[in-house]
Symmetry: C2
Subunit: 261 residues, 2 copies
DNA sequence: CAAAAATTTTGATCCTTGTCAACGACAAGG
DNA sequence: CCTTGTCGTTGACAAGGATCAAAATTTTTG
């Protein structure tokens, strides 16, 4: 019934400008104000909410945005704090989690390149976001972005679509959390991760796992020990192979059967 | 590890016009085409996405909408079927659930008056909606509605806000499912229901529960037996009183402590 | 490169919750 | 009125996963 609360508390940086701010176009290292955005050069242009924008809208976005980098383990923003920015993860991976007062933790998701941060446009952050790897975020002022979407219906529509998609994923995760065994949870998680990588890179049986077993446990409503045991068992049964920083899926069919909706 | 799959299969009616279609303005009983909407007369105008509309937008909505009634236990729409309509629940309560192939079920939410159905605007229904009580829905063609919001930014904004809110609720529910004990789950459920009724009627310690213990269990990731035992225990400890079709909260402070975010 | 810290794995044991079974209350319907 | 079905409750028992403890492994850091 416990879940680590004593994680190494890295300071919150998103919204306080302590992160190394750097422009993509001119790679100046220190200056706190960072350079302008260069969407033409963006890695996730095809996957993010930007995919549906026209040149006019890109220009408007570039005007209010900038790129920010976070080292691994940095806190990008923190549950309960004012939400100064929203943004798009352009590289790296984040852990999104909610903390209970007694230290139990629920990971509500992992953000991957192309994911939008701050979909709810809420004044306060509803969860904490920590960098699992070095991460880059294309960041906008929340208020500015909120005003912009009122003038750019296509952008608002893209945001609505993204929110709907997230809602659907959240409901699927409810099924996983509420009605699946430990083994099924792990299978669903691995297949889910594979599918997300497939959208970014190609389909592959090699699934990198930038998060710890504890993170996986907190995502699936299990303890570290159970996660470890189940993965070891799957490896013993030749369903997967555990490799440094990830797994390789041997019996995808079996995993998909276990994860079946 | 099981969850009733053999529920009395009432036919799906939403999108097939078997429900009694009736206009609010002219109460004609049978005609399949139902009368026009009269938003001025709507009970949930203040709670629903309509709250932010101007007269022009109301008129546009009235043009594509109609009111439909469902008897208790009717299926409003079914997981996997084409989503012909979206709509607003104006009275009654619905159970929204996802079914696993082996019969296990996860209730992803309960719809109350003012709630929007079909937020995702997806072509296919991602879950099944069943009436827990007689229910009325203010219904729009999905495609028509989807086109309308592109012309009425305020309506789209309202929808985005609603989707964001749902997403936040879904993430809260993940914490409940993944990281709370049976007792805490029940407490969170009761406090949650109380808060939802408070939005509609006033705040009250009397909380009607139109759903069965099985529904509650499938919502919280518990069995009927555990739900029953926990509620009986709470009643024995004078935290609640079980009354016909609901509960009365005696020790709200204790429940809130248990449900604490 | 060695020491310290974090993470992962494994084992033993416990306990919360699930499973199985049965009963009573109640409502619907013949 | 009796039957049938649904729902809620209770009890006995089992088990999946949690907890506690510690070793093995990997990563970080001085």
């Amino acid at each position: 019934m416990e879940s680590l609360a004593e994680k190494t508390m890295t300071d919150t940086v998103f919204g306080r400008m302590e992160a190394s701010v750097r422009s993509l176009s001119c790679a100046s290292q220190k200056p706190p104000q960072g350079g302008a955005l260069d969407c033409a050069d963006c890695d996730v242009r095809g996957q993010s909410i930007c995919q549906a924008l026209d040149p006019d809208e890109f220009e408007a976005l570039e005007k209010i945005g900038r790129t920010v980098s976070f080292p691994s383990k940095a806190t990008v923003f923190e549950q309960g704090r004012d939400a100064v920015h929203v943004g798009n993860l352009t590289s790296g991976a984040l852990r999104l989690s909610k903390l209970l007062p007694d230290g139990r933790r629920q990971v509500v998701g992992f953000a991957m390149p192309g994911d939008f941060l701050g979909l709810a446009l809420a004044k306060t952050h509803m969860f904490t976001a920590d960098a699992l790897t070095p991460a880059k975020i294309c960041q906008f002022s929340r208020v500015g972005f909120s005003e912009l979407i009122d003038e750019k219906p296509r952008l608002m529509r893209a945001l609505l679509e993204a929110a709907s998609h997230e809602l659907t994923l959240a409901q699927d995760q409810m099924v996983v959390l509420g009605r699946r065994t430990a083994e099924e949870k792990i299978a669903a998680f691995l297949i889910g991760m594979r599918n997300r990588y497939a959208r970014i890179h190609g389909a592959s049986v090699h699934v990198p796992l930038p998060m710890t077993r504890l993170d996986i446990g907190d995502y699936l409503g299990l303890t570290v020990e159970t996660v470890s045991r189940m993965m070891t068992r799957m490896a013993r049964e030749k369903t997967i192979v555990i490799v440094p920083d990830g797994v390789r899926l041997l019996d995808v069919a079996r995993l998909e059967r276990l994860a079946e909706v």
